[in-house]
Symmetry: D4
Subunit: 216 residues, 8 copies
């Protein structure tokens, strides 16, 4: 019986490396997987690695990792050089959503994409978004990160031609219902052709962007 | 045992007449209540009176009613003259929301308020709303009627000083969940100081506006 | 007061024409919008136009429409010629999901895309899907249409490099919860980078595909 | 990339200052925003600043704040003088709801409103409310704070003419569902013209009151 | 195989006759059960027998039944004489709840209880309830029938000593959620010692009252 | 493009024939599938074929089917002879659940299993169940069909050694929530080792039984 | 402004003392209320006072309290003598439900009722319940405490004549949904005339019993 | 009054020993039950005994237990010898699901079953599952353990003849909803004859397997 069976051919099959989602795994499992992949000389992205767990890793393991506490992501292996042009805009409604938008940005950087980040442009102060919309339009793909009512998603969807990938976040309380409202509002968006990923899934939005960018 | 007990002193107590919510009542109950109030020489607003039921009322009863099929409302008794200035703007996201926004407008008219209606200004085509925002700002109160993601509510809440009363509508399908998403999104709005009434409750929003207008 | 305010510049702004979602609108509203757009000499896609309503339209209006009863869509205006190569694969789990997958296909055809349809390839008979996977892989984008447990979404997401857009359907009963389970399962998919649109929203998936195809 | 982008013109646009919702932000973000606003010589209201976090702020930051632990609010900058007359009544059902009602009262005080608070007047002991109803009626606006079944909201709505803004609270257990029942009951209130804000959103109710008071 | 197996000893065991809940049974099943019980010379209460089905029963069957269309109940067999004193008060919030309150009253009458009915005493017009509270207090048991926010339940629970059995009704729309809000609000009532039965279950409330009255 | 792709090797792969779930398919689709399978000389079970649709099938198609209106099932092709001994007991709580329990029984008969049916043995009259428990114990598998609170499931699970497969039904109203309560209660059963299928899924329970019986 | 306003006349009005629900109140609030009531020379029941908080109370306060850690209740003031005969049976499904059933028993003891407790008689081992049913039948009222599927409620309801008050508990996991399943199952019980209180509300069930016992 | 009443005849009645579910019981209750059973010289399985509680047990008690921290299970009493042939395959989608799959395996081992475990074979990397499907087919029963979208359940159900018992797990976040999505997806599986147990209920799946294996 093996505890895990890494999917090392995933990149070939779907164009994306297998990543390690750390939440829900024990410290021992995380460490053993990192060691196994490192031994195989392969790169890997770790997500949902919170600061306390990162700090508790053995020094040998920790030294292999390029860690970012806001996004709770780590890179194992040498970083890919970044492209010159940012093809993806990550647009983030509020300061509280930064962990999620940074997860998207870091995942894209793992694949060598330079990312433009637009923060704190929620629609309660619409001028902030409108003032930057031309810049945003210069990108091939827009990732929209927003919690609560996720109104940013529809507004963006109505202002740009690019694919818009919505990431609802768990920011908010009460009727925000841990991100369920932002999720449902994004799905029911009045702007056509917006797609949606799971709550707080900045990683997934970035992978979806990579699937588009890998095309052609 | 009486089937009903009209609250004829309500206007004195809360500044609003008792209205007749027809859905859920039998044809007989609706007819008997209308007759009782008419006999008492009092005005009354009827809501949720759908066209089929209106058509099935006896001619004597029907002739007492000023009926509007879109809003499914009827006025019993002489109409109050309308004020010269529209103090309330009813802003409606889409054509499918018109029944609800008209219910709000008709309720206000019942109380003698002239109403400005702004239709089909959902945020998927933001220029439509922005092009009319100065007009909207000229009103004392804004009622925002929107279904699906209700993004209109937050956008409006960030653009006007007036009280904003959101009416989520049951328009939409799937993740719109019969208006629950618009309701939750309105409650979780990123714009401060927006208040919310029940799904499709144009009547309630108008009553809330009257409570404000009746002040001082 | 206008009942509707068509967003005729939408194509310029987001690369997609405004479409007419017929459900929730009255017969009169649908007819008036069709006439207005026809008068303006513009094409339009109508969705959720069920057969009974289509049949009840006036002959003059009906004669303007190219109607398909399975997808409940209609084209107003001359059809665009189709591309030679199908860039989008619409993969459909079961016969009961056909209305939704056809809505996606028809929307793409409205924009001139030739579509490859793969029907009845749900994972309960996995060989059917595996037998056609090479064909599916030849497309730039995959739209996966599935109800109930939507297992097709994850399986496809793990087998192709292309962007996968999931359309959960309301097919099923009991724990299928009108499509909510397929929706949640698609969002929680174990395959990375899958994106999701609203339940039964074949139109939205096609629009999302067009946003990708319009790129570059 | 900036972590935040303060909306300093909000007061001009909507008549309300941007406030800082501390929950969901890191200690560093809270401190940096407070410093930025203080440097700009502007006042700000902080909400959901719990006592532990307040205590952990650096002395320099903490000394700028007028903190209240029950409401978890803090004022940055000089306090506005209070009006002589209390225009708003904050009516609170039970002792457990005090944190929320105090948040409403403190927000109003931030804007210079004197507030009358009526505590522990839940309808299980109706005489307590009836004994104070004349006092309550002397106010321009009533904020009703209640958890569990929120019956206070309907009772108040039927007894006063003023605008009634309901704040459902997360007090209770089991079928109280973290405030969802109080929220739904307030929205479905049998008293006409009551409006509702999010669960535990004393701040939002006060902002809604300010929108009304800022009128005319 | 038998289609049904009547529990003719139920009265002995639990003090209540087996009743026939007609909804969900076919016309044939209802008719065959009525005939079987009639043949056995036993009385039976039928509930949820709507008028259309009642009308479609064969004359022979229908002639055995004492039918009431508002409560949708029928008595099979001779009526028991009513007690002189009404021991149970059935208090009903609004006209739309009458079907449910009548079901409770009819069930009690089936068992020979005289019932006092108090209708249209919802708390939005509190004086109506307060004006009759002394009368209500003269009963041994109070059944409170209310939909929407069910505020009547808490108010009554705080005003009487008797057992209060709440029957939430499915009256209302939107956030009333088909009676779920009235149900949850009744369960979370701030008045101690109130008990609750299923939505629209006037029959069950009456049975619960009979269990109490059968005591001692 | 084919509308359907029958999985004719399913029996070989999983030991069960592909069945035709008629709900959600159009009349045309049902008829074409039946014809295709009949042409191939194969048997097939049809489920959820309601009486109206059955009656509307063309005579040629209808004549091929052995139809049962209570279970809404039909057999295409010659019936398999039944085993001598009933290996499965289908235990049904109430008369309203019969459609579902009959679906289970008919599915088993399709595969040649003789079935013992125990009807109307809900736990509100526990003696009915206890009086037949020895008979039930004589079977290899027990299918328990119950709606509302599904208490029958736990009681049976604690009284027999055999595998117990629970089929929650949508019988009931209000808090029964269309079968969700029976489903959740069955899953949370205090009796160990009970398994559960979807609401109203008599067919699925029978298939599960066949998987067990096909073993060894 | 007062933080609380005790309802000292509640006993007179509804026959029950106001009790102190400690959860959701601060330590200071609990202590101040206890002191106020003690000063007034009145008895009071405290509920949801967990052991840690009890231990942290000042010695002076703690010495006034008769505390029971399992039920998390405390009596303030002299205990009432217990009646000779137990009129209430508290029947508890499993060991994990004991905290709730003890809360019911302690509340009854506060009012001077002797209580018979029947523990660990869940229906998965039906013989345990049946072996004690004659004893249970000797009581005037039965309180049934059960979590998970709450099958005990229906079984008891079908076996006794007395009023049955169900207390669903939050025991269980997954589909038990924190007591929601037990709650819904109790409400949808197939046994007629069972009433229900909130999840884990042993106190409320006891109060309901007292309302019955106080009668006549 | 006894705190617990062990069901020592359960094995005789249902073929399974009573097990001790430790979560929700106090340390004292767990210890006392273990001692009681040990004194009676009987074996017992303990589930949901987390490592911290295990460590805090008194040495005397702890020494009686054969504890496994991953599955959080312990055996009391001598282990039964394992059969030579593994009759059950436990198939686990991901590393995070191991705690649940191990609970199933350990429960089977408690009853003397040898178990084959197949780990990390989720469908996002379908080749891993397909590569081992022949091995899996060699077993009499398949237990499928999967969280998130639980697509593994349908894929397996379509590939094997054996009974498939699905155990949805609480692994995942957002739309995974603590296992509710995996649960609903398993119930709505497109593969016929799959049965389901509660979320994370590896124990229950093993008991269901034992009921099957105990047959004949």
């Amino acid at each position: 019986m093996n505890e895990f069976d890494l999917d090392l051919l995933r990149a070939e099959r779907v164009g994306l490396d297998e990543a390690l989602f750390c939440a829900g795994k024990t410290d021992g499992q995380v460490a053993r997987i990192v060691e196994t992949v490192a031994m195989a000389g392969r790169p890997m992205l770790l997500t949902r690695l919170d600061a306390a767990r990162h700090a508790s890793l053995e020094e040998a393991t920790r030294s292999r990792l390029d860690y970012d506490p806001i996004s709770r992501t780590a890179f194992l292996g040498a970083r890919r050089p970044l492209r010159e042009r940012a093809r993806v805009a990550v647009v983030c409604a509020g300061t509280s959503d930064l962990g999620v938008s940074r997860e998207a940005a870091r995942t894209l950087e793992y694949y060598g994409e330079k990312v433009s980040e637009f923060n704190d442009v929620g629609v309660a102060g619409l001028h902030r978004l409108l003032g930057r919309i031309q810049e945003i339009r210069a990108h091939d793909i827009v990732i929209a990160v927003a919690g609560m009512d996720a109104a940013l998603v529809s507004v963006l969807g109505g202002l740009v031609k690019a694919p818009v990938i919505a990431v609802p976040t768990s920011v908010g309380y009460g009727a925000a219902r841990g991100g369920e409202t932002a999720l449902a509002a994004s799905l029911a968006s009045c702007a056509a052709g917006v797609t949606v990923v799971n709550i707080d899934n900045g990683f997934g939005a970035a992978c979806a962007a990579m699937r588009i960018l890998n095309r052609g």
